[in-house]
Symmetry: C2
Subunit: 183 residues, 2 copies
């Protein structure tokens, strides 16, 4: 197996925003040559797969400016500074859906775009949902429509490209696998 | 259902690099207020789930500078200008693994980080693999180790957080689902 590591020679900060920062690193490659790496730093996020007592999935429809369209996703949100992913999951579930849950189980964590970004998503499954508030209490620049759909409806929304993002596609496939293994 | 769209008031270009560009858009929210959106534009990518004739998965180990570590992934690569995703998949499979394939089937496409980036990954499954070249012919700044592993080994690598990215975790779960549905 060959050596793969890239050493940082220098790092140029380009942008520091509300959510992401961007830097360009000059690196020494395994063969001694140099190259540039464009790197987006992100605080990390959680996503929650909320299952109602009648086995529906709670999802949110929201406009995603980078895509210039609305898509349907499982609830998710960025980690606040100093916040444990589990706390973020409980907070975001309540903020985006108005639900609190009896059980919250970690399923998996993954990097979304390891080629250019360090964003990690921690995925939890939430069960024993209870409506705490009638309406969601969103961030002031956040607008969502709530949906409660069956697994079959979720699979159909993937076909229609209304569900169109990695974490939600993974979550739906995870549920399909659980169902298939029951049989 | 409430209106969710955000209208662009202005768009400020921040950075234009080899791979990504960054812009900050000022938007009008559904309630008439304004907010800023940090948006990374990416050319899009393909990923390939290559299955050998004895049902092993061909993966690549590579250093990911944003994560400062090596991870194990299915082969993937960026779309070149004017290239159809299918062509990219055939090219990247050969470049990264030395394999060509008899059949290449599209499985799914998904956005990796719709909150801040427009990157889309088109995922294909490649079967009927034949070694075309002894060695991979990588880009000049690309270094990978090749692995051929079973589905069970892939599941183990997920547990060990050596497989740690969305597209690969999805691909492994997809295969698990296919296996479970056979039974």
């Amino acid at each position: 197996m060959s050596r793969l590591e890239e050493k940082t020679i220098s790092s140029e900060p380009i942008f520091s925003g509300k959510i992401i920062t961007l830097q360009v690193d000059e690196v020494e490659l395994p063969n001694g040559r140099t190259s540039k790496r464009e790197i987006v730093k992100h605080p990390g996020a959680v996503a929650i797969l909320p299952l109602t007592n009648d086995n529906n999935i709670v999802m949110v429809e929201q406009f995603r400016k980078p895509l210039e369209r609305t898509i349907v996703e499982i609830p998710a949100g960025k980690l606040e500074k100093g916040e444990e992913p589990r706390e973020t999951a409980i907070r975001e579930l309540e903020e985006e859906t108005g639900y609190e849950c009896d059980s919250l189980e970690w399923l998996i964590s993954f990097y979304t775009s390891p080629g250019f970004a360090d964003e990690i998503v921690h995925l939890y499954i939430a069960k024993g949902l209870k409506k705490k508030k009638d309406a969601a209490t969103l961030d002031e620049d956040e607008f969502v429509n709530l949906l409660e759909i069956s697994l079959d409806e979720a699979i159909q929304l993937i076909k229609e490209q209304k569900i169109y993002d990695a974490k939600t596609v993974y979550a739906v496939t995870y549920l399909q696998l659980q169902e298939a293994m029951k049989k």
